[in-house]
């Protein structure tokens, strides 16, 4: 080879030498087969699109953070596959005093990962800290009804409530109300989480992975895998590629298109109806949506099934307000069960807007896969009824900013659901709810119904009350509920025993085994 000697300048020669070396190196390595499942024995690798943005369970709302922290922390109650409340750190409970006192009996022999025993003092300290404004706990409103906490002995906690709160036990099951050791501070657990959960926190490398180890002392029995690794692969298509190559064994997907491609390539894909719902939020405090007829016209002009089919490949179910299995709303129980453009036009005319009306709506770009498609379909359908949906497509940060400030007339949204209807909508649609400003609608009837729903613990009675709530919301077209989509769990063939949950929880990773 004459090339290098032909060049005189030493720098150029050096560049070529490096190039040749690199070529040789990459050439060799491309022939080496990839190390299949490069982790130690029994570690389940979970593909994960972003770093958890906080390790503080009381502030965690991002999916990645919640999915991680629910492995590490324990809650007083838990939910079963049908989202019914079951014992967690509290083994049993008893209401007394007209449902205004709730006594919890704690599980014995539970330990934090640092070895300290879990007791009623930790529960008291956790609840009281969550209630303090300076903690800025996102679920503070859930425990608002707790006036005081007594810890008469290490195994007993007595909660004194300001008023009956039938949704409280289901509310406790969230990682946002995880039980922390009374000796831990927010700062400390932000660096090194210390919970009572099935996995202990191992290590993390920003942008790369978070590693957990099975907790041999876990009260529910040692997990079937030796550990979990949440491996960060930022792109969902790349997550699927990682599953296909066998380097990652478990992932959740939300884009129906990506799920479809995963299914077609030999991976196991399970779909679960989700509690979250796609909705056109209307702000009934802003003109022209302050007129009931205008809101009803919008509701009547939309075929929900068409939005679902065109925007989300039909992957989901048309839904009414309440999505939890035990209280599910009948999606046909609304003023126009089928699309009725003539009725919509008539309603508009009745509101003095026979010449049409323009409604600005915000849409997020990138917050979830189907948002813009949904918005465009809604726009097309409403146009036929003389309603112009003026879409403002925003980057997801800008969208969240406007949503949080309730600075919109209408919003195309995907909102999370909760197992208990009071937990799900009490905060939105009661006049004192902390999200009522964003909901844009409240009424004395609703306030009364929500209060009744909280006061009784009888499931049949509660079902009846929330059916009325649902009906009231639809009859007043508070929002236009569209559909609930599926959550997808993709795994390699060797993964067994995982049960997906409608609330998206990955708590059952502790039951999952790897062959």
């Amino acid at each position: 080879m004459k090339l290098p000697s032909a060049l005189s300048a030493p720098a150029t020669r050096c560049v070529l030498a490096v190039a040749a070396a690199a070529l040789v190196a990459t050439g060799c390595s491309s022939g080496t087969p990839g190390k299949e499942g490069s982790t130690g024995s029994g570690t389940l690798v979970v593909g994960y699109t972003a770093d958890p943005n906080t390790l503080d369970p009381w502030k965690a709302t991002q999916f990645q953070a919640v999915h991680l922290l629910e492995q590490v922390y324990g809650t007083l109650t838990e939910l079963d596959g049908d989202l019914n409340v079951k014992p967690g750190l509290a083994e049993k409970w008893q209401y007394a005093d007209g449902n205004k006192t709730l006594t919890l009996t704690l599980r014995q022999g539970v330990k934090f990962h640092d070895g300290k025993p879990f007791s009623s003092a930790d529960v008291k300290s956790s609840i009281e800290r969550i209630q303090k404004p300076e903690t800025a706990a996102v679920a503070a409103a859930t425990v608002k009804s707790i006036q005081s906490v007594d810890a008469p002995d290490p195994q007993t906690v007595v909660l004194h409530l300001t008023a009956p709160d039938a949704g409280l036990l289901a509310g406790f099951a969230t990682t946002n109300l995880a039980m922390l050791s009374k000796d831990d501070t927010s700062e400390a657990i932000g660096q090194k989480p210390n919970g009572t959960g099935a996995f202990t926190f191992g290590s993390r490398t920003a942008g790369q992975s978070v590693k957990l180890t099975a907790n041999g002392d876990y009260w529910g029995g040692k997990p079937k895998v030796g550990g979990l690794e949440f491996r960060i692969i930022p792109d969902q298509t790349s997550v699927v590629a990682a599953l296909q190559s066998g380097n990652v064994q478990f992932a959740t997907l939300d884009d129906p298109l990506v799920a479809k491609s995963a299914e077609g390539s030999g991976l196991k894909v399970a779909k679960t109806p989700s509690l979250s719902y796609h909705v056109l939020q209307l702000n009934a405090r802003k003109a022209p949506l302050d007129k009931l007829d205008v809101r009803l016209a919008i509701s009547c002009a939309i075929d929900r099934k068409q939005v679902l089919d065109t925007a989300a490949l039909g992957a989901g179910e048309v839904t009414g307000p309440i999505t939890s299995p035990a209280y599910k709303s009948d999606p046909n129980a609304r003023p126009c069960p089928t699309r009725d453009v003539a009725k919509a036009k008539q309603l508009l005319a009745g509101a003095g807007l026979a010449n049409g009306v323009t409604i600005p709506a915000i849409v997020s770009q990138g917050e979830y896969a189907t948002s813009v498609n949904e918005a465009q379909n809604l726009q097309a359908q409403l146009k036929e009824a003389g309603i112009t949906l003026d879409l403002q497509t925003l980057e997801s940060g800008a969208y969240v900013d406007k949503w949080v400030a309730a600075d919109f007339t209408a919003a195309v949204a995907l909102n999370g659901g909760r197992p208990d209807p009071d937990g799900m909508y009490g905060r939105y649609f009661t006049s004192t709810g902390n999200l009522n400003r964003v909901a844009g609608y409240s009424s004395p009837e609703l306030d009364k119904l929500f209060a009744e729903g909280k006061a009784t613990t009888d499931p049949a009675k509660r079902k009846e009350i929330y059916t009325q709530v649902s009906r009231h919301l639809e009859d007043n077209a508070a929002w236009v509920w569209l559909f609930s989509s599926y959550g997808y769990t993709a795994t390699t063939q060797g993964v067994a025993g995982f049960t997906p949950m409608a609330n998206g929880s990955l708590q059952n990773l502790r039951e999952t085994s790897l062959q």
């Binding site: 090339l3 920003a206 298509t237 940060g397």
Partner: protein, 322 residues
Amino acid sequence: MRSIARHPLLRRLVETVLTLFGVAVLVFTTLRAIPGDEITATLGTEAAGLSAEQQESLRAYYGLDKPLVLQFFSWLGNVLTGNLGFSRRAGATVGEMTANALPVTMELAVLATIVGLLIGVPLAMLSASRPNGVRDGFGQLVGLAALSVPNFLLGAALLTVISRYAHYNPNAQGFAHFTQDPLLNLQQMLFPALILGFGLAAPIMRTARSALLEVQTQDFVRTARGKGVAPWRLRVRHVLHNALNPIVTMTGIQFGYLLGGAVVVEQIFSVPGLGRQVLAGIQQKEYAVVQSTVLVIATTFVVVNLLTDLLYRVIDPRVRAA
């Protein structure tokens, strides 16, 4: 005294410091212009449920309650003392994160540049050897393809094909630094470097082709040919060597861009480089992370430019004399 102030090196240094200060101001203000802050980025729509007191306490926690000017100068002061800030998302200092990410980005940029040169320069020589002929047409076509096929498409397609059919996906194995596992590291760098290098080959090829064509027509080449210099020796020793300056300039500029992070390719191939560090910082509205990382990138860019200038002197004795 005046002669020192006029010294080119000193002038260059002052210019550099002013440029970097400008970058700092620009990044700081642009970031604040983006809607949202670390509170809404962390809590999402749940931030709407916070009470006024809760919000106040969070603003203090994230340091958002201080006046902007104070925020700027306290950050700048920290940077000057070597403290680049702390990322709550990563649970690490920006200094640690950058120390991890910068070598990764450097390695990827070097490998991609090598690939780009190895494709671009021979292709340009092939094209220039017979201008407007079939060879030239082929070279131009490859160059056009490299320029027009977007790297996100090429990257995603390549990754899917090798994972699905060859069950080979080094990039899903968890990133390994060169010092930890050189073999795995090079496998992980292979595809991103190829994709980036392919894209880089196009501008290099175009620049090199026109430079070669220009040099080819000069008198000394005709003289050399007349003297009976062998064709390949003529092309390499005489033509390519004299056409190197524009090629080095173009490569230097492209290399600088690569240091800014090949964000898209880093995302697809899960390479934890500087580009992803900035992107995650922007998404999380971690102002200190973005500001400090961009400043690091800008500094590296300036240094690379300086080195490119120095390289001219090595390649071309005429620059040295000037």
